[in-house]
Symmetry: C2
Subunit: 462 residues, 2 copies
């Protein structure tokens, strides 16, 4: 076996030609989406009013283990992939740990994160279907940027509803999206009924992701040849993200690396789901006892403190009902929370796997997250995204535990992106003004009180 | 021969173990530095008052063609290198050109540019020499960031004098440097005599690179165990940057790529010098007729409109005199100039090679540069630095010329960095408010009038 280099780059011919469909190997499948009006399972036709056909087909596919990546998407992937699997030699030395630490780094493209993996796929299918414009929402801006890049490449118009407070706080994110030709509309706006209603009720609101989603869906439905796209949570998004895990697995196998645990950050779950896919598959099939750990912010603890229940995907309650771990669609994390990972719910696939005991979850406070980010930046030379630093923080915890016990474990974590557009948060941390927030049980109860009532008889049926 | 992939990554074992010393192959060497007080050539001892010993040795070495890269620097390089040599398939398609376009991309590290190549080396040698703190200046901030990263890694204190207007306009750059533990002082400051003098004369000044250099040198001289480091212009900086060209050459040779021309942007000249080193060497030795093209801003045209003369390296006139193409050390480009590449002079090595006819130079206006950047970003997925986009602009011009003539030329250009911290400039371009500036001959005459008077008899001697 060769000595492991600092960075393992696969060749183009080693890049995945198929995505990995986790649902095909799950012993129990996630519960179906429900139409909130009828409480019946959604049909593909219903979802196609909003989403592209091929994506809906993928959303419903729970039988094909491998789904081919079209040539036109693989060409796009070659522009910025494969992403490196990095041996964190310098971090190991800094921590003085016997553990071997690896990270799969998705931040080498201009969007700065893994989001581009699904953006490319979704825009490609839209183009194939003859769609000429897409709408979406963005909060922190990674998804909006990724989508603008993909739309510029494939030649499709894009309208991004950007949470107003983000658009104001992150003018540079907005500028990147515009450089790629995307149209950015701060949300709430007067371009939709949903936006006008919210503006009438709360003229001074800074907006929310839920509101931006409602505006983007409304515009997609009302515009000719236009569809809505979403950057996380849904099964087809996780499917596209499995290029992360497949590349990581190939690289591990090539160098005989056998991770004892895989750690990822979780918000909607797409980066985490993509990373763990081929590894958890072996675990489900009983061929591996690898630990799989999702790390979420203590301020938005959907897995560790949420309820496994049917809930809406958006604050505006316009989406189908999804069975997932949720804090309630009305839950909004404290404004002092710096990074992304602020979604009230969780991918139905990840929720199910967690519920069935294949995944562990833990929550960390943001000052600890930024401390980990700083340690990492100084020895590994990459300024990590606050989101990714949740995984990093847990990986460092595990490596320090190894130092104490003397165990030589192999840790693989996902470094999903860079923090170049999150420097306001770093500035708050550097100056010591950053604080932590952990919701009380009473705070959470308020969110749970808004959960939709799905009768027991319906649950029996689905 | 294999089909060329989108991105060529060398393996660790293919990374250069030696830097390439261009001066050793130059038929005529660059003129020596002069001590401005005596007008005699500077001695190594004089330079060692400010710079580390090993770097001064490298500065004076014009005989050893290869200089070994110490193991401790190669380990650092492995953290973020090799950088990819990219075949710009998508750009070729967009331009509909028969030309083959390649670019060596130095922006994959957090400092966002090639500057880290020399920062690593300079900090390593400082550490070896027992130096405990370093000072430097930074304008746009790439050099300050790179140096902060290297100082964090090797464990040395760093003080960065950042041009005040940059520190105010680019708080995020400042935040990155501080995250890496660097101390940022907006210049002019009250921490030095030079700064206090300038503040007394012009209290409202936004500062200049020349002033920041003066402050950094003064602090280095007055502080125990402290040296000053510089990010461009000097021969040893170009030496370190040859890892760019050496990697590019190895990758080209591996895939049988024979560039007809190499294009780089030029400010101080380090990125350009590093890229062209092994290629121009073959040209000097008569084994190649490759075209080598340096591209500078029309607003700061040191090669295309400057004088080849002895001049100071800084506005404060504290450095040795260097024979170079210069606009005069008092020349300051128009404030509407957006990117870096605003240095009044040029690397003595590049100046000499240009003077001797091995290099072509051209100047481009910034709106054309940003137009090229936008085209590139949309099809190649990377948001380029404004500086790097000068090279890109010329590469696109050449590719379009090939489309018109039908010639199938091979173009290699240097993409020295990313534009993630330059979005204010992109915003100006996107909104149509960016303007061009070309200095008049009268403007330039003012700069030339400040050139030091070095008598003919001295020039005869050196």
């Amino acid at each position: 076996m060769q000595k492991v280099p600092y960075k393992i780059y696969l060749s183009e011919s080693e890049m995945p030609k198929y995505w990995f469909n986790m649902k095909a190997v799950m012993k129990e499948k996630p519960e179906p989406f429900l139409n909130p009006a009828t409480l019946k399972p959604c049909t593909p036709e219903e979802l196609q009013q909003v989403f592209c056909k091929e994506l809906v087909d993928q959303e419903f596919n729970d039988t094909d283990k491998y789904i081919e990546i079209p040539e036109g998407i693989r060409e796009f992937y070659k522009m910025y992939r494969p992403s490196p699997l990095v041996r964190a030699y310098c971090l190991e030395k800094t921590l003085d740990t016997p553990a071997e630490i690896y990270y799969k780094f998705e931040g080498t493209n201009t969007s700065g994160s893994h989001k581009l993996n699904s953006a490319a796929a979704q825009v490609y299918y839209a183009k194939q279907q003859g769609i000429t414009c897409l709408t979406t929402e963005t909060g922190a801006g990674q998804w909006g940027t990724a989508l603008a890049m993909a739309c510029a490449y494939y030649g499709i118009d894009l309208t991004v509803y950007m949470v107003k407070v983000s658009a104001e706080q992150k003018p540079y994110r907005k500028a990147v999206i515009e450089t790629y030709g995307g149209k950015v509309i701060p949300s709430p706006s007067d371009t939709t009924e949903a936006g006008r209603r919210i503006l009438a009720e709360t003229p001074d609101t800074g907006g929310s992701l839920g509101c931006a989603i409602s505006e983007a869906i409304e515009t997609a439905i009302k515009t000719k040849n236009c569809k809505y796209v979403l950057g996380s949570v849904l099964d087809h998004v996780l499917l596209h993200q499995t290029v992360i895990g497949l590349e990581a697995k190939t690289a591990c196998d090539k160098y005989g690396i056998q991770p004892d645990m895989i750690i990822g950050c979780i918000g909607g779950g797409s980066n985490f789901g993509g990373l763990i896919a081929p590894f958890i598959s072996e675990k489900i099939e009983g061929r591996s006892s690898i630990r799989i750990i999702g790390v979420e912010p203590a301020s938005c603890p959907s897995l560790t403190r949420g309820k496994y229940a049917y809930d809406f995907g958006d604050t505006g309650k316009t989406t189908p009902l999804m069975k997932m771990y949720t804090l309630g669609s009305g839950f909004i994390p404290s404004p002092n929370h710096a990074g992304g990972l602020r979604y009230h719910g969780m991918s139905p696939i990840i929720s199910k796997l967690y519920h069935d005991g294949y995944i562990e979850a833990r929550a960390v406070e943001q000052t600890r997250v930024f401390e980990a980010a700083k340690v990492f930046a100084r020895c590994e030379g990459i300024l990590p995204a606050p989101e990714s630093s949740h995984a990093l923080c847990a990986a460092i915890d595990e490596a320090i535990m190894c130092r104490e016990t003397g165990e030589k474990k192999t840790i693989l974590f996902g470094l999903s992106g860079t923090g170049y557009f999150d420097l306001t948060a770093y500035m708050a941390y550097n100056s010591g003004t950053m604080t932590d927030y952990i919701p009380t049980d009473e705070d959470l109860e308020k969110g749970f009180a808004g959960l939709p009532n799905v009768p027991e008889c319906v649950l029996m049926e689905v």
